[in-house]
């Protein structure tokens, strides 16, 4: 009977193992697969990422030079990053922050002039 007691008491007399998350944030692991972003200036709009993506969350328009990703469909598998011929796709170590409205990452790039709309990288 009461075989759990030693464990319980050990817990009681030690510091709790809780990570007090919003107060203390733990460093993410180096190669964790987080939010996807595109260095649009390097992108050649080859559509490899769109083709390889298992959840089909990336849409690339070669003519208009747009790169668009639905972050709410993305499954953070990293396949696009691995297959990107220009290595311009990257993953951060952390996820996007929760939001109250849906949004889509839309990037327009041209060889000379680049413009970012609704770029949420900084969030």
């Amino acid at each position: 009977m009461f075989d759990m007691t030693p464990n319980i008491l050990r817990n009681f007399f030690h510091k709790s193992s809780t990570r007090l998350y919003p107060k203390e944030t733990r460093q993410a692991f180096g190669n964790a697969r987080g939010e996807l972003y595109n260095e649009i200036e390097a992108c050649i709009f080859c559509r490899t990422c769109a083709r390889k993506c298992p959840s089909q969350c990336i849409t690339v328009d070669t003519k208009e030079a747009t790169w668009q990703c639905d972050p709410f469909v993305c499954v953070y598998c990293g396949v696009c990053v691995e297959n990107c011929p220009k290595k311009c796709l990257h993953q951060k170590n952390d996820y996007r922050k929760p939001v109250t409205d849906k949004e889509i990452i839309f990037m327009k790039g041209e060889t000379k002039k680049k413009k970012c709309e609704g770029d949420p990288q900084e969030t």
């Binding site: 009461f2 007691t5 319980i8 817990n11």
Partner: protein, 283 residues
């Protein structure tokens, strides 16, 4: 007279605050035992205030009625306790509340609520005889069922009623719905009856039930304190140790079934109580 009024005031207003605080400390300690950080100690108050602010949603109006009767009876029993009244009377008044709570749960067509209510009845069935026996033990020592007579004792009751105190602790565990007896409803999630007989009490009515529960906790800890009522230190030590052990037991046991409770606690508790009574008789 003034003392009486003060006592009533304590019973009505201070007791629930104390009960809520105990609940908060309980949750904090449980968290520590589980290597967690735990909620702030005044968390139960937030819970209750929030519940009062929620939408009123009912399955059945009997539920509302019963919740109110429950809290009245719980409050009255605590007041009677502080007025140092008759122990049996306190138990009976407390039973009014407990039974109405069950009747409220039974008055719905919800199967979980019904099953929970039936289990709660079994819990009542188990703890009530134990408490009565404890009172009889007190009577045999003091010659009265009145609390006021206990307070004039010079020797702690615990000395002559150790086994009955253990039996009372069983009742306490059942009443607090702590593991292994948390089967009519549970403070923790993941219970096969979801929330048992509290399933259909929601919003403000759940808040009433929660406050009623605080009253009951104070009452039953008060009953425990009677066993060392000769000094304040004794009371605090006894209640503190008892409650600490309750939390400990809550954390080191699995939930068992009511069949086990009837087959184990009943014989054990009654036998211990009985032995203690015989021994008192023999003196």
């Amino acid at each position: 007279m003034i003392k009486g009024i003060i006592m009533v005031f304590i019973g009505v207003f201070v007791a629930p605050l104390l009960g809520g605080l105990i609940a908060g400390v309980d949750r904090r300690l449980t968290a520590w035992f589980q290597s967690r950080y735990g909620p702030p100690v005044w968390q139960p108050f937030f819970d209750v205030i929030k519940l009062f602010g929620k939408e009123r949603m009912v399955v059945n109006r009997w539920l509302v009625f019963c919740a109110h009767v429950y809290i009245t009876a719980a409050m009255l029993s605590v007041v009677l306790f502080f007025l140092q009244s008759d122990l049996l009377l306190i138990l009976f008044v407390q039973a009014v509340g407990a039974i109405f709570l069950v009747i409220g749960a039974l008055s719905t067509t919800s199967p979980y609520s019904q099953l929970g209510a039936n289990r709660e009845l079994i819990q009542i069935l188990t703890y009530e005889p134990l408490i009565i026996l404890a009172f009889v033990g007190i009577y045999l020592v003091t010659g009265s069922f009145r609390i006021s007579e206990i307070l004039v004792q010079t020797k702690p009751l615990l000395v002559s009623l150790p086994l009955l105190y253990i039996a009372l602790c069983y009742a306490l565990t059942i009443k607090l719905r702590k593991s292994p007896f948390d089967f009519s409803t549970s403070h923790h999630a993941h219970q096969e009856l979801v929330k048992g007989f509290l399933t259909e009490y929601s919003g403000p009515y759940l808040a009433l039930v929660e406050i009623g529960h605080w009253y009951e906790v104070v009452l039953i800890l008060g009953l425990c304190s009677l066993f060392w009522a000769t000094s304040w230190i004794g009371i605090i030590a006894l209640v503190g140790v008892t409650y600490f052990c309750e939390i400990l037991i809550d954390n080191v046991t699995a939930r068992l079934t009511w069949r086990w409770m009837l087959g184990y606690v009943w014989p054990m508790g009654l036998a211990m109580g009985f032995v203690n009574l015989i021994w008192l008789h023999g003196r």
